[in-house]
Subunit: 334 residues, 2 copies
């Protein structure tokens, strides 16, 4: 540590790499947010291009801060990221395979870089900055294109043997059910996700004879937002789809409570913004299927953090924890 | 600490309270087993009677040890036990409700008494003395009258918000399925347990036209051991029942791996003794339903510890951990 650094205040950067946008934030060690920003990911340009741009933007942003800070670590959240290996193994959203993030960042930075799954980052973010402050046992579900989850057990983010624990999106809830990108059938995320909502529209258009605006939109044109807006206008099929999604989610979450005995479950991401349309049937089926001892005692909450922000601040937190606890372990990656 | 205790070596007692037998063991702090014993529980005589007898037997046993030891703590494992409250809340096997174990033991002993669920005790026992030595992420299933589970996450026994986490026996695997003692329908233990095996016999006797010795035994007379012995003699219905049980167990365990990313799953208790009859269909359906990245990588093992012993040594271990870590917390109970 050089002499001039001693007088400076340490900061960390947290980055959430998404399929469309990459969001990042800078916090000091007292969790004060100094800067927030975002830019287009353009994953189709490849991982090399992305990490070159990311490094440039981080360096520019840190320069823009008033003097008196130094960058001590970087936390990167990405879909499909493995914190033990420092890699993105495979990501449907980014369409990257076997990208060694740690190696790429090492070209640009000589400081610890910690990698984690985006849903785990969201859970850490909720724990430090969001509705899960002071909670020891909680589950964050990220309801976006897919369904991700980050799980706190007894005060710690659950990791498992290979850093892959907590993939609730790939619990099989119906054997022989919908085909999943994982190669199996009936995974929870084929029903409860933005993509799942679209598939449920097709299912209800075939099962029901009711007239619906949804009959005028092709599968590829359709978005879960369309379904949401039509449900608000009392479109029967759109309402059925939300009730069906909530039923499946509520039943699954009742099992999740049996397994984890959490204080709360937090819903995060685009689909969670459907609010009562999704929350009402979810809560109804959740309570109905809970073990008696849990009825009325486990809350399903909506994240209070702005979309994308929980993962950014979670990545900051992970960077800080890694700097303190895992310096040796991290040197393996960077 | 009095002067003469300083020269003595500390020991702890672990007790596993079962519906028929209560087993206990004494270990020193180096995990050497000094004594093992068991006696009839007679739960029908009530909890007061039981704990009076237990206290007497513990005191007698400790006296029988050569001089040079002093009893530093007691760990009690029981079905339905809650370590946070020090109570048995409700236990189908013991037919006791709201028994405050801590209070009862305080009448007899002025040392820390730690209470835990019997399946959690089995997991701790496997961790210290059994096949899960050196494992950080594993799951122990106790397959007896019911289905219990103890789960290690990242090196620690998972507890959850109220000490009730890890009830895999009460995951609903079939909505609208078999009635469960918990008041709901379709819980895993209504299929995969000694009782579940008996119910499956009835199901297959109705579904199949095959001749079977099982048609000569009433439901109440039937034991899972009968089914096991007939399956060894190639009784078609008995074999179907084991294949069906293994299919349900294998599918459920594949989901458990998706959630916990464990190194291994350990089967423990009477039903696990059916060995290949149960393990073969379990393994087949487990591998078939695993996420690709886990195929061939997660082992299903049989406990190497004698029946009942894992919980006893787990209770010893819990007592030791509690003496060190939770002395303050435990004083609330004792």
């Amino acid at each position: 540590m050089s002499a001039n650094i001693v007088d400076k205040q340490e900061i960390v950067v947290g980055v959430d790499i998404g399929g469309t946008n990459t969001v990042f934030g800078v916090v000091d060690l007292g969790n004060n947010i100094l800067l927030e920003n975002s830019f287009k990911t353009y994953p189709e340009k490849g991982a090399d291009d992305f990490f070159n741009r990311l490094a440039g933007i981080i360096k520019e942003s840190c320069k823009s801060l008033e003097a008196g800070y130094f960058l001590g670590g970087i936390g990167l959240a990405a879909p499909g990221a493995n914190y033990l290996k420092g890699t993105i193994e495979s990501s449907v959203n980014l369409n990257w395979e076997n990208v060694n993030i740690s190696k790429m960042m090492k070209k640009h930075f000589d400081i610890p870089v910690a990698i984690l799954n985006d849903a785990d980052a969201a859970a850490l973010g909720e724990h430090v900055f969001g509705v899960a402050r002071n909670m020891k046992n909680f589950i964050v579900l990220t309801l976006g294109t897919g369904l991700g989850s980050g799980i706190f057990v007894d005060g710690h983010l659950m990791r498992g043997e290979n850093g892959l624990a907590g993939e609730l999106g790939h619990i099989i809830i119906e054997h022989g059910g919908r085909e999943c990108t994982c190669g199996r059938k009936g995974c929870l995320e084929t029903y409860v996700s933005a993509r799942g909502i679209k598939r449920s529209v097709s299912q209800f258009l075939s099962a029901s004879g009711a007239p619906s605006e949804l009959r005028n939109i092709s599968f590829n044109e359709l978005t879960s937002k369309n379904v949401f807006e039509l449900a608000l206008k009392n479109d029967r099929v759109a309402l059925d789809v939300f009730n069906y999604t909530g039923e499946i989610l509520g039943k699954a979450l009742a099992n999740v409570v049996t397994v984890f005995n959490p204080e709360a479950i937090i819903l995060f991401g685009g689909l969670a913004d459907a609010d009562e349309l999704l929350l009402k049937p979810t809560n109804f089926n959740f309570e109905k299927n809970l073990l008696n001892m849990y009825k009325g005692k486990v809350r399903i909450l909506k994240s209070g953090l702005q979309n994308g922000k929980a993962a950014v601040y979670g990545a900051c937190e992970f960077a800080k924890q890694s700097m303190v606890k895992n310096t040796v372990e991290l040197q393996k990656f960077v």
